[in-house]
Amino acid sequence: MAKKIRVLIAKPGLDGHDRGAKVVARALRDAGMEVIYTGLRQTPEDIVEAAIQEDVDAIGLSCLSGAHMTLFPEVVKLLKKRGAGDIVIAGGGIIPEEDVQRLKKAGIKEVFGPGTPLRDIVQFFETAAKGG
């Protein structure tokens, strides 16, 4: 049996909007992945620590408060510092187009905006776990 894909779904910063993160967590679980949900108000340090402890293949960051430009790249930076730069990171939330480009440059592999089909997100994590 193939090893289950392990994904950390995390809410960095103070943002309390958790509808999307929970829906995505559930969709990934239903697609057969092992999902660890951090809950709210996590610092980038908390998230990186959890990702390493849980030995995940990928991280999904959700932020709808507008603090993504500070928080998302910080997670990338800390992961690299801890030698876990191979963990793939995707982000989601209320994110203007020009920020999407900047986040990608900062090492966020993909950014999912409102209205993204769940199957696209599932597929992303499946591909990411295969090293794609």
Binding site: L14, A21, K22, V23, V35, Y37, G39, T70, E97, G115
Partner: protein, 558 residues
């Protein structure tokens, strides 16, 4: 429905229609779906008739301005006065938002509504480490009395009513507003407005909590008590279903959970020893206006009827003002699409229509660019114009409860009322609202509904225009709104200057007194007010409370 003779006649007529006219029609053209449902997945029948109304229909309906207020809380509704057009606004610094307030007032807004940024909502100052990256992004930062003074600079707070969406630290923010008004010589008795102050739905849905439920409820009741004595025209709470719905609930869950929370506040007030009629008239409500027009209308009408009944029958309120469910409404942010964003103007119009037909007291309409950002000026103006068109052009404000008597609407109103009572029983079975929060009941119910809704969109059982059908391949153009670095620096500077120049002794003493009050049983409001006047910041006051009360950790589930 009147007598049984007539009912029998109608039943017979209906059977005939089904066997002949309908049968032929279905043979020629089958219906589009096997089952039609509301946004909340409740069945919608093909046809509603007088047979769907109970014999007690007219009694349950009542007259506008009279118990049980199904048709509205005023006898003349919008013929007398239009609803308050109140746009939720806030970004960047107090100066930035003050400018937006003035812009909206200049374009015909009739009430103010403050959106605070995340650090403020959680009781942190702009310069605290927890606030990193969050300054002014989805609301305005108000860390001190000086910020509050700046926010309302040049605005007559003795005349305009102000709503403030703040919960965990609501009493602190309210104290800042009261102190700001006092310094300008505006009497407390003339101040009108609302603090959201609804902590229960924070644990359930919006998630902007600070302290655990019991001390939080104590703070809420402190504001009830203080308000009823000193700020008589202020709504000390806005019991909110809006966020419950945004987090994913159905209309029935929004209705049931909101009212259950409302009853919980009333119980806490009575347990404190307050007379129900002394504080109940200042309890107000806030509901979502989602896509399904008739279901939303039914929700508002059912809410009024249930509240009136329970306040009178269960809580023994004698003052008719205690029976009134007055509510603000906001169109559904969650329904806004990032795809073809201009189309959101149409969605918002239909949702706003539901709120108006449902008898709302005030209304916020979302701007079309909100799936991307806090609205830019033009988008906010169009949102305001939407309300003005409903008020002045559409004609729907010219009569009271225009859809009252619709068989469909009345049947749905009854159905939602029954759904709500079933939830009340379940909540009671779990030991009440706070034990049910600790068990994650509301949170799980809401998450389940959110997931089901999303699956329906995935499976195309539910069509969202521009998202899973009628899609175009385009990059939407939305004019960006950015919080500037200059605003951030100015805010930091103001805080620094204030901390440096304030009277240290007075400041320290006020925080000590507040600490003693928190650890004891006296009302915290006067001490918070003293702290604010002594230039204690939001974060400093909340730190005292965090120490005294502890912080909440929510049950993890998805």
């Amino acid at each position: 429905m009147a007598d049984s003779e007539e009912r029998k006649k109608l039943e017979k007529e209906l059977r005939r229609w089904e066997a002949t006219t309908l049968k032929d029609a279905l043979k020629a053209l089958p219906e589009r779906r096997k089952e039609f449902v509301t946004t909340s997945s409740r069945a919608v029948k093909r046809l509603y008739t007088p047979l769907d109304l109970p014999d007690t229909f007219l009694k349950r309906l009542g007259k506008p301005g009279e118990y049980p207020f199904t048709r509205g809380i005023h006898p003349t509704m919008y013929r007398g006065r239009l609803w308050t057009m109140r746009l939720f606004a806030g970004y960047g610094s107090a100066e930035d938002t003050n400018e937006r307030f003035k812009y909206l007032i200049a374009h015909g807004e009739t009430g103010l509504s403050v959106a605070f940024d995340m650090p403020t909502l959680y009781g942190y100052d702009t310069d605290e480490p927890e606030a990193k990256g969050e300054f002014g992004t989805c609301g305005v930062a108000v860390s001190s009395l000086e910020d509050m003074q700046t926010l309302f600079s040049g605005i007559d707070v003795g005349r305009v009513s102000t709503s403030m969406t703040i919960n965990g630290p609501a009493s602190v923010t309210w104290a800042m507003y009261l102190a700001m008004a006092e310094e300008r010589g505006v009497s407390r008795s003339s101040l009108r407005g609302t603090i959201q102050n609804d902590i229960l739905k924070e644990y359930q849905a919006q998630k902007e909590w600070i302290f655990p439920p019991e001390p939080s409820m104590r703070l809420v009741v402190d504001t009830f008590e203080f308000g009823s004595k000193h700020v008589p025209q202020w709504n000390t709470i806005s019991i909110s279903g809006y966020h419950i719905r945004e987090a994913g609930s159905t209309a029935a869950q929004e209705l049931a959970f909101t009212l259950a929370n409302g009853f919980e506040y009333v119980r806490w007030g009575i347990d404190r020893g307050l007379r129900v009629d002394d504080f109940a008239p200042r309890l107000s409500f806030f509901f979502n206006a989602h896509n399904d027009l008739f279901e939303e209308l039914a929700k508002y009408r059912a809410a009024r009827r249930i509240w009136a009944r329970e306040m009178r029958e269960t809580f023994g309120a004698k003052n008719p003002r205690s029976w009134l469910l007055r509510f603000h409404s906001q169109t559904a942010g969650v329904s806004l699409t990032a795809q073809q964003p201009e189309v959101n103007i149409v969605r918002t119009t239909i949702q706003a229509l539901a709120a108006v037909l449902g008898g709302t007291q005030s209304l916020h309409t979302n701007a079309y660019d909100e799936a991307y950002q806090v609205p830019n000026e033009k988008a906010a103006r169009i949102a305001l114009r939407t309300q003005q068109i409903l008020a002045h052009e559409s004609g729907v404000a010219n009569t009271v409860d225009p859809l009252g008597g619709s068989y469909f609407l009345e049947a749905k109103t009854d159905e939602l009322e029954e759904d709500a009572y079933r939830y009340f029983d379940r909540i009671q079975g779990l030991g009440g609202v706070i034990p049910a929060i600790r068990k994650g009941f509301f949170q799980q119910e809401i998450a389940n509904s959110a997931y089901r809704y999303q699956r329906e969109i995935e499976d195309k059982e539910r069509i969202i225009v521009g998202v899973n059908d009628f899609v175009v391949d385009e990059q939407p153009e939305v004019e960006p709104l950015r919080v500037t670095e200059a605003s951030f620096k100015a805010q930091l500077e103001r805080l620094k200057r204030m901390r440096r120049t304030r009277d240290k002794k007075k400041w320290e003493r006020s925080l000590d007194r507040l600490r003693t009050a928190c650890e004891g049983e006296e009302n915290t409001m006067p001490h918070i007010l003293e702290g604010v006047k002594a230039k204690a910041t939001l974060g400093e006051i909340c730190d005292v409370m965090r120490e005294a009360f502890g912080v909440w950790e929510e049950p993890l589930l998805y």
